[in-house]
């Protein structure tokens, strides 16, 4: 019998445990889930708490209730993973050996990473809503708020649920209006990126969303510290933004045991393959949910689609068949925009959010990138879907694992001022494709497995003896060798004579 240990009993860990329990018999695979406590939080619900829409009882359930029979749940902190001996050391002194390990411990807000964030103003004028205690404290702060400067701030990307700060801003605008203090409030959105929206079609569609609501925007803001004497955010380039109430999203980092185990990057995220979620360093370690380095949103919908792909591949390989599925980076997110309206985003690695209808062409019923009441209802309905369909591992009607272009108004070459084409930054393609070629002097990772339909899997899981080579972490700049650039192969007749210089 093989042993699977799943670290983290949150969205991804619970889903994958239940799906694998249903797919493989107890005599074939022993499944153990490890988490520090028995409280499963519906994290998307934190956003609604400060506005009195949800309270704690809407958001917290016991973890074990959502794990199927035949899954062991161990409640303790994780000390570290020892990949060479395939054993997990727990804080209470016990250890768990594994044949396969799933790391699904997500990311958490780290207010201590920014100087001054947890100073005297923490919990008074400085708040966050990415944890239950944080959302509870902010609920009180919003109740006491009588107008002034309300600043919503993102410390650094990536963060989980990357649109949540914008949703908070929209909901705050709506809430302040309802409480007749909007006119007495200066609402500012502060982002480290170069715009509130950075994808071409989304920026165009949502260009007026902030202006219409009289929300000020501060971009390219890299916070250096928070001045508690003057109640100001201070950036590395000397900009200062004063606040009466600061709602910040602290730096998000993976779990500390990831660092102690030598498995993470500078944010304790576990480098993993973009299409198979297999650790780049250890083929028997898999990363699901927010804990890895997938270049798509850290969101429950991504965890859901990735778990589907992973489960399919895991069961196939367990039964000696090739793994045939590759994750495409699919994300599907309802966005609250206030006034009982919402928007819907559907995208993947290769496709930016477009307008259109979802999930069916023409009839929808949901509208992509448009504010509608139905999208808002979809968001509220999702809490029921989460507890009753998603966690138990039941299929969600109409929502495919792989993103579909049906119903989407596909546009190319849309580049509003200040935005770039996302393709340049996205991983190569929805299915594994050629990666940018690597200079010979640069360190290389283990060859990326190609997982395509009708092709034998080359995932190294079957050959655990494959030596794990170091990932890029830790490289210095000293060993870089310059190589002559290769010219574009574009038709010379189409080449523009002068370079395009970005606006900075």
């Amino acid at each position: 019998m093989k042993r699977l240990v799943i670290l983290g009993g949150g969205t991804a860990g619970t889903m994958v445990a239940n799906k694998l329990r249903a797919a493989l018999g107890r005599h074939e695979l022993h499944i153990t889930v490890v988490d520090r406590d028995d409280a499963h939080h519906y994290q998307p619900g934190y956003l609604f708490m400060p506005f009195g829409i949800y309270n704690t009882t809407d958001i917290v359930r016991s973890r074990h209730r959502f794990l199927a029979d035949g899954i062991d749940l161990v409640l303790t902190e994780i000390d570290r993973v020892d990949p060479s001996f395939r054993v997990v050391h727990l804080a209470d002194g016990r250890s768990l050996s594994y044949d396969h390990l799933v790391i699904a411990t997500g990311v958490s807000p780290r207010p201590d990473a920014t100087p001054g964030m947890q100073g005297p103003l923490w919990g008074d004028k400085i708040h966050e809503f990415y944890s239950l205690p944080g959302a509870q404290a902010l609920t009180e702060a919003m109740r006491r708020f009588r107008g002034g400067r309300l600043v919503v701030h993102i410390t650094e990307m990536p963060i989980k649920c990357p649109v949540a700060p914008m949703e908070f801003t929209f909901l705050a605008d709506d809430w302040l209006r309802k409480h007749d203090i909007r006119e007495r409030t200066e609402l500012t959105y502060v982002t480290p990126l170069d715009g509130a929206f950075t994808k071409p079609v989304a920026s165009r569609e949502l260009a007026t969303a902030l202006v219409d609501r009289q929300i000020a925007l501060e971009t390219d803001f890299a916070v250096e510290h928070i001045d508690n004497d003057t109640a100001e955010l201070v950036s590395f380039d000397g900009r200062r933004i004063g606040f009466d109430l600061l709602v910040t999203v602290p730096l998000n980092m993976g779990a500390d045991f990831v660092a102690r185990s030598g498995l993470g990057d500078e944010l304790n995220l576990v480098p993993c393959d973009q299409h198979t979620m297999v650790s780049l360093a250890h083929p028997e370690i898999h990363v699901l949910g927010d804990a890895g380095t997938l270049q798509t949103s850290k969101a429950g919908s991504v965890a859901h689609f990735a778990v589907d792909v992973f489960t399919h591949n895991f069961v196939a390989e367990f039964n000696g068949r090739p793994a045939t599925h590759g994750f495409d980076g699919h994300a599907n997110c309802f966005i609250e925009s206030g006034g009982r309206k919402g928007m819907l985003l559907d995208f993947n690695y290769a496709t930016e959010p477009f307008t259109g209808n979802f999930p069916l062409p023409v009839v929808g019923p949901f509208k992509l990138l448009k504010e509608t009441h139905l999208n808002h209802l979809g968001k509220l309905a999702f809490r029921w879907i989460y507890w009753n369909l998603l966690l138990p591992g039941r299929p969600i009607p109409m929502i495919p694992t792989t993103m579909s272009l049906a119903g989407k108004r596909v546009e190319t070459d849309v580049t509003p001022a200040g935005t770039g084409l996302p393709q340049a930054a996205a991983p190569s393609s929805p299915a594994p494709g050629p990666k940018p070629s690597t200079p010979k002097a640069a360190p290389t990772k283990p060859s990326t497995p190609r997982v395509e339909a009708k092709q034998p899997a080359t995932r190294p899981a079957a050959a655990p003896a494959t030596p794990a080579r170091p990932v890029a972490a830790g490289v210095g700049a000293g060993g870089y060798t310059d190589r002559p650039g290769v010219d574009s192969t574009a038709d010379p007749g189409t080449v523009l004579p002068a370079p395009i210089i970005p606006k900075f």
């Binding site: 929206f197 994300a331 370079p499």
Partner: protein, 104 residues
Amino acid sequence: MPTTMISGRPIDVNDEGFLVAYDQWDSKLGAELGRLIGIELTDAHWGPIRFLRMDYPARGETATLRRVSTVGGFAIKDLFALFPGKPAKKMAYIAGLPKPKGCV
């Protein structure tokens, strides 16, 4: 996707002017990209630029300021002095890599 002449060579870029092919870049081109945005590259500039070039292939995404600082060992304050205003974006441009982005 446009192709433009830079440093006497045809180079593929996006509509904003950022390079889209890792292989088309070399240090001569990097120096020219710096000049185009008003930065004369010194040894101090080349350190983080080389780090970005070296870090990208295995990661598939441009290193963040935090990564340039914690893994590459370059102080963020210094990066703001070397690449004024928007160091992450300017370094990405000069190194011929995609700029940092969000999901919408």
